[in-house]
Amino acid sequence: MMKVLKPLIAVIVLALIPYVGITYGKLDFVFAIVIPYASAAILVLGMLFRLIDWIRRPVPFRIPTTCGQEKSLDWVKTNPLESPSNPFMAAVRVLSEVFLFRSLFRNTKAELHGGPKLVYGSYKWLWLGGLAFHWSMLVIVIRHARFFFETLPLPVELIEMGDRFLDVTVPAFYLTDALALAAITFLVLRRLSDEKMRLLSLSTDYFPLFLFGAIAAIGISMRYVTKVNVMPVKALALTLAKFGFDAPEPIGVLFYVHLFLVCVLLAYIPFSKLVHMGGIFLSPTRNLPNDSRAKLHKNPWNPDIKFRTYAEYEDEFREKMKKAGLPVEKQ
């Protein structure tokens, strides 16, 4: 129970910090300018630190996880995607994992059916929920570009139009808002509803979910229900986009809660499970082509061994060997 309550309380306390700071402390500048820059710096430097650290780790041998026959003889049917033999197919495999979560599609669940019978079954809901969550988050982040650009780039506009194509409610209802909330709810309930999942889940699993949930809920509330004046929000976003330091005009406190939680999320990414957004590309079990039979892979940290040939040995000890009556190759 504490594993769920602790992150929940943490998110509530985090949400209260800007609320108190803005309402009683008048710390607009801190929450609008200082903290966003600080968290962006932590995100960039932290990600660089993690990724450079991972890139520097030598991976001398090919260790991809495969789900298919590797390329060998002509008459053996190969599976170029599941066991890629060249970097291009390996890249395709990584990208298909990034965009479609193919490994989650193979997700199974194990259940005990009436005593000692363990039954494995297909379980696609996690794949579907994860896909819905990640894609809606991506669309929502892209949609926020309308705050950071003076004129909207066409692709962003098209995405936004597609997102609001239902054309209901004023302000227009975004599909991804509902999708994201539904997906987060599912992902939380998935962990809570099953005994095994409750045991496996840690507070670091719940914290990002609650954080995303709070950010989404507050954002949706600001759009459809409580409303804030968008003009100073846009001015602040433009200021941040060009690295300015002008304090914004007064904005509703709910906006600062939203912004602060986003900042917390950004700063949290490099030091948590959320770093998988960069790590997925550097995972050696995924990004390496499976060509150990076709190519020789030398260990780059083999020590430089000093060899001594027999000729050198004989050169050194020839006189002594002769005296002792040992045969020598060169006189």
Binding site: K124, R146, L166, V168, K227, M231, K234
Partner: protein, 143 residues
């Protein structure tokens, strides 16, 4: 075999969901198109009758405080449209007790004098309202 069955079940469910979704969208679009003339007809009749109903258009000041209007104007206009066009209720009473005609013309009484009034902020915030799909925007009205 069972996994394949489940997978095909899933595909069927997905296809069924998509079908319902597309059908709903289609009917909504059809509904929009069908009701457009009715809205126009409704809008004409009360507009002609409104002076007789003695709903004074007090255009000297705004219906609500500026701060409220900045954040909520789109909801006010949306509600006004529903009330006046669909329910025939054309009079808005603000908290101070002043009466207003629920019409875009009430707003335009003051704000129409600046042809860029709506455009400036909406362009700045990259928000495209659907008002001007039917109504004439202040930019299109000859001053």
């Amino acid at each position: 075999m069972t996994t394949m069955n489940k997978f095909s079940q899933f595909l069927v469910a997905l296809a069924a969901g998509l079908t319902v979704f597309v059908a709903a969208w289609f009917f909504m679009q059809a509904g929009h198109r069908g009701s457009a003339p009715a809205i126009a007809a409704d809008a004409v009749a009360p507009a002609a009758a409104s002076p007789a109903k003695a709903a004074p258009v007090d255009s000297a000041k705004c219906i609500m405080p500026t701060e409220y209007m900045r954040a909520h104007h789109m909801q006010v206009l949306d509600k006004w449209r529903k009330d006046s066009v669909r329910k025939g209720n054309r009079t808005f009473v603000n908290p101070e007790g002043a009466h207003f005609d629920k019409s875009l013309n009430t707003c335009m009484g003051c704000h129409g004098s600046n042809p860029m009034f709506c455009f400036m902020c909406h362009e700045y915030a990259n928000v495209k309202p659907t008002c001007w799909n039917c109504h004439l925007s202040p930019m299109e009205v000859p001053q």
